[in-house]
């Protein structure tokens, strides 16, 4: 049985059980006077029941009530796709968020744009540098100057 058939259902089992337990701790109250955990408890229960039915349908596709789902045909979801590029982009975005207050909007955005323009597709350095500066300048003009969004200045002071 291919492991990727099970990843989705296992993930939702974990989420569902966690919410169920926390909702119980919050207190579901009584039927005539539902408590703060009421909607969470029953929504999580509904989620778990449906997930179980879905998991069964994944394990026994001939008795499935659903249409074909990506991955059930036996193809791997991660072959022949550039998931490495996706990780690279996510890494860049995560670093941007982490260092945003320290670097400030202008420097942080310029570096991020340069990284994104170079990381995914081959782009000449000159094009990437000019492109990143242009995008940063235009977004600064729109958001900081016109819309007055208060971005951090960072250690360089603007």
């Amino acid at each position: 049985m291919k492991i990727h058939f099970c990843i989705g259902p296992l993930f939702w089992f974990a989420i569902g059980f966690y919410i169920l337990i926390r909702a119980w701790e919050l207190g579901i109250g009584e039927i005539r006077h539902p408590g703060p955990g009421f909607i969470f408890f029953f929504a999580a229960l509904f989620l778990l029941i449906l997930n179980t039915l879905d998991f069964v349908s994944v394990l026994c596709p001939s008795r499935s009530t659903i249409g074909p789902v990506e991955g059930q045909q036996g193809k791997s979801l991660w072959r022949g796709v550039r998931w490495g590029k996706v990780l690279l982009v996510l890494g860049g975005l995560a670093c941007y968020v982490y260092f945003f207050n320290f670097l400030g909007f202008v420097l942080g955005t310029s570096l991020l744009m340069l990284f994104l323009l170079k990381a995914v597709e081959p782009t000449r350095w000159r094009t990437a540098i000019v492109g990143s500066m242009l995008i940063t300048l235009i977004s600064y003009a729109i958001f900081c100057v016109w819309l007055k969004v208060p971005f951090p200045e960072g250690f360089i002071g603007f």
Binding site: I39, F40, T65
Partner: protein, 503 residues
């Protein structure tokens, strides 16, 4: 008479310099993202939502609505010229529109598409204007049980009509309700699933969720594919005005598309995509020469393009009249109205007439703008199509990052948006739909409050949902949808439709 007077009032609101400007920006942006594959109207509306907080509610919704129906105009351009739909509702236009382009009739296809969109959009606004006040007057009789039942029925229909697994769609709806209730309990004030993070006390923001789930995830999905060269017809496009024969062939399909599109657009789970497919099927069925379809039949362009624009007007009817969105995009618009402090529903028109009538009037104006924009600017849109995606996606990501940060001036919102972006990407990979989640998220708080109020009224008895006629009808519909989905010998395998408003 009242309707005309209200419409005049609406025009006085929509024709202000500010609102005209934002209407123009909205339709222009909508056309642009309709032309560009890789980003759809849902992602764009999510992206621009935080910016609209700096405008008045009327201006904000005028602009966002303009993006919605503008995208339907723009999507047909790429379908006809490149055989790639700019957005989901233009998929079916590829079938005959591209063939017409190959036969040297790109101009006629583009022209008829623009006129069909104009007719569909304008007539659907007439329907919106007439039907919404009537429906709102009925909805004044609704109480918490009716609202709870209708919202649940709406969610059930959305999942039934979705393109993937029904189990998974319902799961996403349940998870959306959970996400929508995160924050402080409105009755007891206790914190629910905030994990000690003060930013979560007011709940998860709709812009954060929507930008992550649709904006960021869409970019990630596009990045993982190899970007191919697109073959664009660069021959001079001439003769944008359809001839008499084209009009004779297209008039009745347009009228049929209008009625079908408006009706399907107003149903929960319906929308522009289903309307365009349904119209194509109907036209092929009614045609004296069905063998021409798929080989450049102009009816195959006129009918679906009219239907998908008519659906946009129809989609606003339940949102304004009942406060219940029929698709993802109107769910986001409803969330936006709630953030502005305006509650859509039966009391919207009496309390905020400038919002409803201003938006209706702006939609008339917007459709005229779109007709004027689309025909002469086709050569510009062709140039835009040539912009490589490697230059577009950094700007899309930056807009998302800025939008999320500008909500509270906090990097927490940005980080949360990235988390939803990763979740949306993985959901797309593993076959879980985002649309039911967003719909349920927007309705989550109201579902909980109406359920609690109903149980208080009935002293804990669930029969309250079955003894009141409107509530009972909605419950019966919901149960019918769920049973027919879950019983294997009734449920047919569905052909996968592209998800609505997500390209």
């Amino acid at each position: 008479m009242d309707t005309l007077q209200n419409l005049m009032f609406g025009f006085s609101t929509a024709l202000s310099a500010n609102n005209l400007f934002f209407c123009f920006v909205g339709v222009l942006l909508g056309t642009l993202i309709g032309v560009l594959p890789g980003i759809g109207p849902v992602g764009t509306v999510s992206l621009l939502l935080p910016i609209t907080f700096m405008m008045t509610p009327v201006s904000g919704i005028i602009m966002l609505a303009g993006i919605f129906y503008g995208a339907q105009y723009g999507g047909s351009t790429t379908s006809i010229l490149v055989n790639i739909p700019g957005e989901a509702a233009s998929v079916v236009t590829c079938l005959d529109g591209y063939q017409m382009a190959r036969q040297g009739r790109a101009g006629a296809a583009l022209g008829m598409s623009a006129f069909g969109s104009f007719i569909g959009g304008t007539l659907s606004v007439v329907g919106l204007m007439l039907l919404t006040p009537f429906l709102a007057s009925i909805a004044l009789k609704f109480g918490p049980p009716e609202y709870f039942s209708l919202m649940c029925a709406g969610l059930a229909i959305v999942t039934y009509l979705g393109s993937g697994s029904v189990f998974r769609s319902l799961m996403m709806a349940a998870f959306g309700i959970i996400l929508g209730c995160v924050g402080q309990d409105p009755e007891t004030g206790s914190s629910r699933f905030v994990f000690g993070i003060p930013d979560l006390l007011d709940g998860i923001g709709l812009p954060t969720l929507a930008m992550g789930l649709f904006g960021i995830s869409e970019v990630l999905v596009n990045i993982e594919k190899n970007l191919e060269d697109r073959i664009i017809f660069t021959a001079k496009i001439k003769g944008l005005l359809p001839n008499r024969r084209d009009w004779a062939d297209s008039l009745v399909p347009m009228l049929r598309g209008c009625i079908l599109g408006f009706f399907l657009g107003s149903l929960p789970g319906g929308g522009a995509t289903i309307a365009s497919f349904a119209s194509y099927g109907v036209e092929k069925k009614f045609s004296k020469h069905p063998e021409r379809f798929g080989r450049g039949a102009i009816e195959g362009v006129a009918g679906p393009e009219t239907a998908n624009n008519a659906a946009t007007g129809g989609a606003f009817v339940p949102m304004f009249a009942l406060g219940i969105p029929s698709n993802t995009l109107t769910a986001i618009l409803l969330g936006a109205l709630l953030i502005y402090g305006v509650t859509p529903g039966p009391l919207l028109i009496p309390r905020n007439p400038e919002i409803f009538w201003g938006i209706v009037a702006s939609m008339y104006i917007g459709n005229v703008m779109l007709l004027v924009l689309n025909l002469p600017l086709i050569s510009l849109w062709v140039q835009v199509l040539k912009v490589p995606y490697k230059f577009l996606f950094p700007m899309i990501l930056l807009f998302c990052l800025i939008g999320a940060y500008s909500i509270n001036g906090s990097t927490f919102e940005v980080a949360l948006m990235l988390v939803f972006g990763v979740l949306g990407y993985l959901m797309k990979k593993y076959g879980y739909e985002g649309a039911p989640m967003v719909l349920a998220f927007v309705l989550g708080g109201r579902i909980e409050s109406s359920l609690r109020q109903s149980l208080l009224i009935s002293d804990g008895s669930f029969t309250i949902f079955f003894i009141r006629p409107i509530s009972a009808a909605a419950m019966a519909l919901m149960l019918l949808m769920l049973l027919s989905s879950l019983l294997p010998f009734i449920r047919k395998r569905k052909k996968a439709l592209p998800p609505d408003e997500i390209s």
